[in-house]
């Protein structure tokens, strides 16, 4: 078959794909809308095929994403890296001077998501334990602050260690019985715990206010100084930066390396003298603690909590942040959190289409770049070895 013949076939396939998808959507969308969908699918696949063809022919030069990132990494090492980080921090500190309330609120929430994603990254990305009910720890932190502060028992600052402790304990309680489980089983048990937590929050009216939640939760204050949104933004910024430093230090520590050993091969790690039980529990507890702290910040920002905010989709989104950016890589996870929180917000103009686009892009990103946007180096090695061991 000649080159031309092959391309012709490929384009024919695009048309067929469009027709097929159109056919499938007829019962739901009706014939007219299905025809639009068919044209859109066929058109999009023809564009993608043409781009791939142009790239193959050398007319269009798109360097592979991996190479781009490597180039960026090489560019920003040593003093340059420090300067880059300083510029970034300065820009983030200056942000409130140019931003409106909406942007500030968005930025604060992004900071909270970064902490959540980094916390989950400890468990999923570093230790390799797939947790699907992470939002439960977030909820524990959020409700701890909500219940204690509306009862005038405690202020924001005192709530931080209490919530961290509660969430950490919750992590241990959840972690201890599930340590024997591996892979998908662990994922499902944690998912079950997450759902149970939400259902309990929804039904325990006396303590949690049931589906109505808890309102009038105070913003943090020091004496008479009240943290308005602008100051709260700085508070979140400090919190996020501290978390990044903490997680980064942990990453390169003895504990971090032991976690990676567990992730790569638990049995081998155990044989090499890594105390897997204790380290897995530690990973659970630390991940939970960070989520608990993030929960306090969330409630303080919103002034309100309800079980709605802690559904399974939230767990999925946080997990996607970790995987999308590149598991185990701190810049990757931060990038994932920023993209996934900002993207649906930026798509607000498309209102009802935004979650459709969100779901579709998750699939597309996984298909085209399964290792995430920034995969870690170690991860790269692991993936090359993997087929041989199976």
């Amino acid at each position: 078959m000649g080159m031309k013949e092959k391309m012709k076939n490929k384009y024919l396939k695009c048309l067929l794909a469009g027709a097929w998808i159109g056919l499938l959507t007829i019962p739901f969308a009706g014939i007219i809308r299905a025809a639009y969908i068919a044209c859109a699918v066929a058109g999009a696949s023809i564009v993608v095929t043409s781009l791939a063809r142009l790239r193959q022919a050398g007319i269009l030069k798109i360097p592979p994403t991996g190479a781009l990132i490597e180039r960026a990494e090489r560019l920003y090492t040593g003093p340059k890296k420090i300067i880059a980080i300083a510029v970034l921090l300065a820009a983030l500190s200056a942000f409130p001077f140019i931003a409106d309330r909406y942007a500030l609120d968005l930025a604060s929430q992004t900071g909270i998501y970064i902490v959540l994603a980094l916390g989950l990254n400890i468990v999923v990305g570093q230790t390799g334990l797939l947790v699907l009910g992470y939002v439960a720890f977030y909820a524990v932190g959020a409700y701890t602050y909500a219940i204690l502060s509306t009862g005038h028992l405690i202020n924001f600052w005192a709530a931080l260690p209490v919530a961290a402790f509660m969430a950490g304990i919750f992590g241990l309680i959840l972690g201890a019985p599930t340590l024997r489980l591996r892979g998908d089983y662990l994922a499902i048990v944690t998912l079950g715990f997450g759902e149970i937590t939400r259902i309990v929050l929804n039904n325990w009216d006396k303590l949690t206010g049931g589906p109505n939640g808890i309102a009038d939760i105070p913003r943090p204050r020091i004496g008479s100084f009240r943290f308005t949104l602008t100051y709260f933004y700085y508070l979140v910024l400090v919190f996020a930066v501290l978390t990044v430093i903490f997680v980064g230090r942990l990453n390169n520590s003895r504990i971090g390396r032991a976690w990676i050993a567990i992730r790569e091969d638990e049995t081998a790690a155990e044989a090499m003298g890594v105390n897997t039980t204790w380290l897995k529990l530690l990973s659970f507890a630390l991940g939970a603690t960070l989520a608990g702290l993030a929960g306090v910040f969330y409630t303080a920002k919103m002034g309100f909590v309800s079980p709605e905010s802690f559904n399974f989709l939230e767990s999925v989104i946080i997990l996607c942040m970790v995987v999308l950016g590149g598991m185990g890589s701190i810049p990757g996870v931060i990038l994932g959190a920023v993209i996934l929180y900002i993207m649906p917000e930026a798509l607000r103009d498309f209102q009802q289409f935004r979650m459709l686009i969100f779901g579709g892009s998750l699939v597309a990103l996984m298909v085209f770049r399964p290792q995430g946007i920034i995969g870690t180096k170690r991860r790269g090695v692991e993936m090359k070895v993997k087929p041989a061991t199976e």
């Binding site: 759902e195 049995t267 779901g359 579709g360 996984m366 298909v367």
Partner: protein, 302 residues
């Protein structure tokens, strides 16, 4: 006593539905080791197709001619359309990721699930959809308990489908290929089995069953919504794990056991915690007996 019997029959009805959906999870897991999170959405698509197709059949006068015929056409057509959806989904979202790191297909499945939910919400509207009132709810008394014919139909149809599936997997060539693939994908491929088509067939079968469950539940409850797939999917998955994931008779047993446990738990203990009950069962079973009721203990891979 009557209440108890009614709860058991309710449990069997719901359990039959869980079992039908669970089969899809367990077959896919058995072959791909993938938790197909979008499977619940296929069930939801089936429930919607039930309304759409019944509407078309009523408008064209088929329902007026014979109601059972129209229901059967609806079930089969919905099954076929959903089978096409399932196979397409596999091709788009899972096939390219077969050799990718473990988490990638899982995220892809979740993305697919979100996508399908919103697809139905956009095309069919965000509000509850009601089944046409053409299906009469007739009851009869069985040992003092009220039983509807729909319940009886659901249980009978499910058992029939499960028997058919069992026959397909044990007696046909394709079924044999599926079993071989589940045991060892690579070796099966070397023996000349076309893995791609085996996987497609797995998705087709699973989706067909889920769609049938969807139509039947739609008729049973009369109301559907675009988010019903998640909870039903999770419970069906629980059923699959309960029976031992990857194990087909296990999924059937798990579905019935879960349905009855849930129905009794909700009926006698705490109705408001009905949904938590399924998850509690899931957590307990995984901690106490992770291989499930009928599963075999899997040694850790070194």
């Amino acid at each position: 006593m009557e209440l108890f019997l009614e709860q058991i029959i309710n449990g069997l009805t719901v359990g039959a539905v869980y079992a039908l959906i669970a089969l899809g999870y367990t077959m896919v897991y058995g072959i791909l080791e993938l938790i197909n999170f979008a499977h619940g959405e296929i069930y939801m698509l089936g429930a919607y197709l039930g309304i759409i197709l019944l509407g078309v059949l009523t408008a064209t006068g088929v329902t007026a001619m014979s109601l059972p015929l129209s229901i059967i056409i609806t079930i089969i057509a919905a099954g076929i359309i959903c089978a096409a959806y399932g196979a397409t989904m596999e091709k788009i979202a899972y096939r390219p990721l077969r050799d990718a790191p473990r988490l990638a297909p899982l995220i892809s499945a979740m993305g697919m699930s979100i996508f399908l939910q919103n697809y139905v919400m956009l095309t069919q509207g965000p509000n509850d959809k009601v089944y046409p009132q053409t299906i009469p709810v007739t009851t009869f008394t069985f040992m003092g308990a009220d039983v509807t014919y729909i319940q009886l139909f659901i249980i009978a149809a499910s058992v029939l489908l499960m028997a058919a599936l069992h026959f397909f997997i044990m007696k046909t060539k394709m079924g044999k290929a599926m079993r071989a693939t589940a045991l060892d994908k690579k070796a099966a491929g070397l023996m000349g089995i076309n893995i791609d088509s085996v996987i497609s067939v797995t998705f087709i079968l699973g989706s067909f069953l889920a769609a049938v469950a969807g139509v039947m539940v739609g008729i049973y409850y009369g109301v559907v919504n675009f988010y019903i797939g998640y909870l039903a999917g999770m419970k069906a998955f629980t059923a699959a794990v309960l029976g031992g994931i990857g194990n087909i008779p296990g999924a059937m047993l798990g579905g019935f056991v879960l349905g009855i446990l849930e129905s009794l738990g909700a009926g006698y203990l705490w109705p408001e915690y009905k949904d938590a009950f399924a998850f509690l069962v899931l957590v307990l079973i995984l901690i106490i007996r992770p291989q499930g009721l009928l599963g075999e203990r899997m040694p850790d891979k070194v």
